[in-house]
């Protein structure tokens, strides 16, 4: 087995944190953006559209 320490942060690691972590502030003052579920769902749609030509591997993974 190998332990890999990546130098450059992978986008997916970033999104794990920026879309699922961090303080969520909602209310009249915010523009009510970072709706977790919304972003999550859209992200999956995004990935499938980006990878349209590639068979979706996560279907068998979930």
């Amino acid at each position: 087995m190998t332990v890999v320490e990546r130098r450059e942060v992978a986008l997916v690691d970033l999104l794990d944190r920026l879309l699922a972590g961090g303080v969520v502030i909602t209310g009249d003052l915010t523009l009510r953006i970072a709706d977790v579920d919304l972003v999550r769902i859209d992200l999956n749609a995004l990935i499938s559209s980006v990878n349209e030509n590639v068979p979706a591997p996560w279907e068998e993974m979930l």
Partner: protein, 263 residues
């Protein structure tokens, strides 16, 4: 000079200045908005990109999302060098400074409590993958790979042979999974013992990560800065006896996964 206020993080006042050339989302340098004992790190962003409708559309554009996430992280990274911030969710946008101040005031007590909990701590990410070993798994077997060399099933002499081979393959596959999951469970237990708090994230989508193999464990650990070296060494020592598995360490991160109140 109109524009919306993009808030990256909340923290306590810090002595060391941020790098002068630091820029964030929309290429704008972040500034400190001080309100009593709290500081919000704020950047001005254009309304045509960040008001609700355009932002919603942008979030469906993976390139835009990626660039914005990296710009956001750029600021959080610089801030994490000088303090232990409480990061906000990507794209938290306010109309103006006074909106930010009101938010700070309303949540002052919660913020201070959470900042105390996170003070001097960072987040480490640890992922375990099973390395792809045969053509039956993993996303990177898109037709180009021939039958695996070692365990090539060869030609089945009869239907019965064929079924037996299939059965054996499936059993090997299941055993491999069991070993991988056991390893991940043990690793998580051992790392949890060295961390103050932990979070399990959903396994990553291989189409997005482009990482080979299947992601079995995707966890975050809250570790004090002084204990971090030992934690990294502990992860490093896991390379012992788990053939076919790969461990990835990321960090140190700001405590994104531990910013909630529910701990």
């Amino acid at each position: 000079m109109s524009g919306l206020r993009y808030v990256y993080a909340v923290c306590r006042p810090f002595g060391t200045p941020l790098p002068a050339q630091l820029t964030g989302v929309a290429g704008v340098p972040p500034k400190q908005l001080v309100h009593r004992d709290l500081v919000a790190l704020v950047g001005q962003v254009p309304e045509e990109d960040f008001s609700e409708e355009p932002l919603r559309a942008h979030l469906e554009d993976l390139d835009w999302l990626g660039a914005t996430a990296r710009a956001h992280q750029n600021v959080i990274d610089a801030l994490t060098v000088v303090t232990s911030p409480l990061p906000l969710r990507l794209a938290t946008v306010f109309r103006d400074d006074s909106g930010v101040r009101t938010m700070l005031e309303e949540r002052e007590r919660t913020f201070l409590r959470t900042l105390d909990r996170l003070d001097g701590r960072v987040e480490w990410g640890v992922k375990v993958y099973s390395e792809p070993t045969d053509a039956a798994e993993g996303p990177e077997t898109s037709g180009t790979s021939a039958a695996p060399s070692g365990s090539s099933p060869g030609k089945a002499a009869s239907g019965r042979d064929y079924l037996r081979q299939r059965r054996n393959q499936r059993r090997e596959h299941e055993e491999k999974w069991e070993r991988a999951e056991q390893f991940a469970r043990r690793l998580h237990e051992s790392l949890s013992g060295a961390a103050e708090d932990t979070r399990i994230h959903a396994p990553q989508n291989a189409a997005l990560s482009r990482a080979p193999g299947r992601n079995i464990l995707n966890a975050a650990y809250l570790v004090s800065r002084t204990e971090s070296e030992a934690f990294v060494e502990l992860v490093d020592r896991t390379k012992d006896d788990a053939p076919g598995l790969r461990v990835e360490l990321t960090g140190p991160w700001a405590a994104y996964s531990f910013s909630g109140e529910d701990t």
